[in-house]
Amino acid sequence: MKATVTVMLKQGVLDPQGEAVKSALGAMGFAGVEGVRQGKVIELDLAPGTTEAQVTEMCEKLLANTVIESYRVEMA
């Protein structure tokens, strides 16, 4: 089984990398990009029986810094 964890900066937290990507897209001539937020995706290969609650604990303790980041867990 797999879990996909998406970690993003919380709304309101300045994302200088996203801003730089947005500005580069504008410079390349792509009009209409009104905002860019950059995050990360972490894929976990899990032993059978691993619970979503355990993955959530992994997020809280390591995968995200909840001071500035939010996370979403998808089990598949």
């Binding site: 937290v13 300045l14 200088p16 990398q17 303790k61 390591l62 995968l63 810094n65 001071v67 500035i68």
Partner: protein, 222 residues
């Protein structure tokens, strides 16, 4: 007086920090991150600069989970003194021994230069040998030194006089020009600049030496 300097894979200021502790009179041991116990009779722990674990995931995040950091948290919880410099500051924020986070520099560039700092408080065992408001020159070298904390946390740091150093001319976007912060008990200091790189005239400056002298005086007095 006994100091320990932690060594993680990717630490690169560990020996410099040990030299600075020794110059201030500390008997200094190097402690590998996989150790689970600290040397006995320790007065202060230094968490050095560098790029622990290649800055993977987030700067300091994986080092913060090292076995030795559990011992460091216990040491700090018992009132022990801890000094985190640069990557060490990031590690201390990730372990929540200090509040706030260090984000990518606002200008996105790695900044490496001599930087003016203001000593924002002399009421700490790390800054007592400076003059209040003194301006000093200390090197910075970081990509992720943009200190951020929420408004409530910032107000608390200010009310409790826990901002140790502030930048003279903000190099990285840090809120309130903050370069270094103290824990609530004032015995844990994290800062992005590198005082250990200016402790000898041959370094081109000695403005970091009073930090180590302050610590030494704290333990002589105790």
């Amino acid at each position: 007086m006994k100091a320990a300097v932690l060594v993680f894979p990717g630490s690169n200021c560990d020996r410099d920090l040990a030299v600075a502790f020794r110059a201030a009179g500390f008997d200094t041991a190097m402690v590998w991150h996989k150790e689970t116990e600290l040397p006995a009779g320790l007065d202060v722990i230094g968490v050095p600069g560098g790029f622990s674990y290649g800055d993977y995931l987030r700067c300091g995040a994986i080092a913060a989970q090292s076995p030795i950091m559990r011992a460091v948290a216990g040491f700090a919880g018992r009132g022990g003194h801890v000094l985190g410099i640069c990557n060490g500051f990031q590690v201390l924020c990730e372990t929540r021994l200090l509040p706030g986070v260090l984000m990518r520099n606002a200008g996105l560039k790695f900044v490496c230069r001599m930087q003016g700092l203001r000593v924002a408080t002399t009421d700490s065992p790390f800054t007592s040998a400076y003059q209040p408001g003194q301006e000093i020159d200390v090197p910075i070298a970081h990509h992720d030194g943009n200190y951020q904390i929420d408004a409530e946390g910032l107000a608390q740091l200010r009310d409790e006089d826990r901002i140790a150093f502030s930048y003279v001319g903000n190099p990285n976007g840090s809120v309130g020009d903050i370069a270094g912060v103290l824990s609530a008990n004032r015995r844990v200091l994290g800062l992005m600049p590198h005082p250990e790189r200016v402790v000898d005239a041959a370094h081109g400056g000695t403005d970091g030496a009073p930090l180590f002298a302050s610590l030494a005086a704290a333990f002589v007095a105790a």
